[in-house]
Symmetry: D2
Subunit: 311 residues, 4 copies
């Protein structure tokens, strides 16, 4: 089933499990995808930036997508297809859709500067992959160095009917969500799904501003699901309580460069991944960092039982 | 008394209070500097990035420094003198030292890229202001786009005896502190003071890694002082407890572009500033943002009485 | 007389002459301004990027402007007032206009990215300096990292009646000139003067595309004047002939970082400047570079007598 | 035969010929490679930035390399293998070496900033592709935003015996060549080949500074060969004469973004390419631009008969 603008909830960004020797660790892959399904994820994104996508060979990428789709049953799977050129993007997009992906995610190349350059890029990307593939805009200025105003996002949405979702990770970004929802209300933009990234650092308020959920990869995605569901039920304080309990660790995990190492380490501690190995270039945890994470986990365990017994 | 590498504790980055019409609000200035002294700040930094330094005319800058030094008694005052050219930097540095400043802070211009360019820049800056003025390196890649390795900082420290402090706000930055302290231990770098910025987002661990304190501007600088003092006394859990209580608000305040607006708003709520006005270009708070901050303050009040009764 | 959109011809960007010890060399200053008047310059720009503006103290800048205006008689003088903050920009702009400047030039800060950010910046700059001061947009992406589409320039022009000129130094930029002139023809933009920078590297075609002249600082500004006048008289081939004769040297002078050193060296050889000194940070010429410039001058002398006898 | 540091002369950067419908135009490919061989090129580089490498699918890239190697006989062929990840780089490098390539060229990703990051990147790249593949450093700050000091290049050369060549396109870059040659003379760096890029804009002096030739793609590569050969024979003035004759066109072709369109258009006019089509995103020539190029070609024809009769 193709992705639509009705997508809601939490789509974790899946890391790619490797063995210490650098091979894809398929047992961990299966365990990871089972885990996401079991905790109630609403979908999944693979081959995102945090999935170490550029470190995979093309055949590995395809194999990973295949395994994911087979494993998660009817959950929609979004595949990152950002590439330095449209030929590779097209090839990847067509082949993952054939495998059953629900849609693709496209990040802009960091050379883009003006509003028109960004709009043109997405028009050309859609022309390349075809207008029949639902796609997600990745709006992540901190890492991608491309700044999209709400007006630019609206232009992309209105120019391209196959644009169904925004992965929102601008920073600061709360006003951007409000502005985009205002565009929908005043009729100048058709509705899209907005799922938030940025490691979830503002998810507590993002859903209050109108976001439909999260599309990020914190090592306790259950908490992201809690926040979205509690807010949906109007239990604001409870949503903030569970969010705040995780914030010290979540903030630690959100450090650029080293964040994925933190995430994989915690998921290894949780028994989901057999190893926290990354392919090179890899962020690495010092002994001091490991001790800090362990300390944060112990503190978290006093407020969330799911963190108990890990260290 | 000139700044030395023995500096310790919390040196808040002072905002510059303005009236809604854009004039410097001297009554708030006095209240602000009194406040810092009363809460036990160990020093102060004025005319930093968050002090809206570039929005002041030269005479205003000098007047502000004068007032600050007169008001805070024997607390050391650091003055930001970053400028697009060495002539203005020199003029400012000489004149604030004449007024009684303890030292100056210098940020690198964003055009610098290579290690040698950065080292040369600081050598030329020291040549411009004179070797007799103690100075602080501001290492803030997120905003300044200049990336200094620990090795580059060591070169600046060893080349320039007047370098006495690092304002550390790299992100992620914990390993950098450990590495710099290791340089001191292996004798390859003479000791310097390391005070941390970045809104305090990692202060809980930074002091554990060897930082001497904070040099940042959170709206509750008392908490920064608490963390530094508790850690110094070995009360690690208590330090993290008070830090974690503030983290939801601190994280909100650390948003680029809008962070100063949050800080000034909270300091206005606290009765320290008469207005949260900024000079243009100014980040502004929407109604939704104000409501979010008020909500965070209310939640904070349940864990820190100093936040009680503000909203 | 204030600058208007009727400005035409060549407005050289004046370097600031220094003595080897770093003082402003007033005798050279006088000689330089006399030189520009005598060769038939249509105006002048001082305190531009190539005028080492950020290396001057505020009083020096004012003194230079004063001297310039006194010296060049009725030629319009444009003054660069770009500054990290609006307070300094306003102070500088008001004071140079009081001294008799014809207008000011404003470059955008390198942090601007989106179309709206750029438009807002100019609106705020105009609000700061006042709507009565004619200003020039400096559009120089290579150095300033800010990319303005023709549409953005049009918005600035239409929003701000005091915008009278574009210093065009986009690269590549020929189509931009054509597009802006098309905007004027279709009535969507009011007429502005377009003078070209970028060291003159494309001046031969820029005037053919509709530019009104040059606003740059090549060491033989006579050639820029020749090109503009010959093209105005329809002598296309002759314009290209003189341009091509200078191109090997002009290209050498247009190297970023070292270009000003080349320019000052040649102007010293020509007897206009007593020294080619720059204030720090300074690009410097190696012996090999000096020999190369001398070689280029010798070759140039065979095609343009004004270069004869210099080496 | 593998590439060594004895490489000398001109290795043109080959464009990739496309038909107007976007397919690789194999007839033009053959004609192009024959052309390079016939004019006396010393080698070739394919799949460089100007070869539109990222716009090709992996199989197309391999096919192009195969055809090139088969066609140019014993000329060494360098293949660009820059990629967003090491897996793809390794796959490409191994497969083109199997096909008979002489070596590979690796550009740094634009995210690198510090000296250590750059050195580490090349160490990891070599680890990925294997130490047995001769490689070329591409040093192109204007486009890649990575600034390598001579010291950094020396570190890469000394750390990696398989580094045999520098594609030098820093700007300004003449002093860099002199410094690197000085490193060789003082024994701190082993000898490498230095071939220059940047469209050839400074080739006249680069070879005088010690460069071994050119590795760039001007539409009249014969001129590049002339310059290198004349300088090798000590005919300095003749070398500059032919260079200067081409400089107006060469400068026009060197415009970022539109340069490849100029190059392909001229090569089409010369009968080498059947079409000047590019794959998207493509720079395009306006009617005015075409007329300007034609004018430059006509003027060039008066000084170089190889340009005669083209328009």
């Amino acid at each position: 089933m193709p992705l639509t603008n009705e997508a809601r909830g939490v789509f974790p960004i899946a890391p790619t499990p490797f063995s210490p020797s650098g091979e894809i660790d398929w047992a961990s892959v299966d365990r990871l995808f089972d885990f996401y399904r079991e905790i109630g994820a609403d979908g999944l994104t693979v081959l995102g930036i945090m999935g170490e996508a550029p470190k995979l060979e093309a055949e590995e990428s395809v194999a990973l997508v295949k395994r994911c789709i087979a494993r998660v049953g009817n959950l929609p799977v979004i595949v990152g297809v950002s590439a330095p050129g449209f030929a590779a993007m097209r090839a990847m997009a067509r082949s993952v859709m054939d495998l059953g992906a629900a849609g693709v995610m496209i990040a802009p190349p960091s050379s883009l500067r003006t509003d028109d350059q960004i709009v043109t890029y997405y028009a050309q990307a859609v022309e390349a992959i075809g207008t029949d593939i639902p796609f997600v805009i990745q709006d992540y200025p901190l890492t991608l160095s491309v700044v999209m105003t709400p007006g630019v996002i609206r232009r992309i949405v209105m120019d391209n009917p196959s644009c169904v979702m925004l992965k929102h990770e601008d920073w600061p970004g709360l006003e951007k969500i409000s502005t985009l929802r205002r565009f929908q209300q005043d009729g100048s933009m058709r509705p899209i799904a907005i799922l938030c990234g940025n490691g979830g650092l503002f998810l507590d308020f993002e859903v209050e501003r109108g976001a439909d959920g999260a599309n990020t990869g914190y090592a306790f995605p259950e908490m992201l699901i809690d926040v979205v569901r509690l807010q949906a039920r109007g239990e604001r304080d409870a949503a903030h309580d569970i969010f705040d309990a995780h914030l010290p660790l979540l903030r630690y995990e959100q450090q650029p460069g080293v964040g994925l190492a933190v995430r994989k380490y915690v998921m290894m501690r949780r028994g989901i991944l057999a190893s926290d190995a990354q392919r090179k270039p890899a962020g690495r945890l010092s002994e001091a960092a490991v001790a800090e994470i362990d300390y944060l986990l112990k503190r978290l365990a006093t407020r969330d039982p799911r963190a108990a017994g890990l260290v």
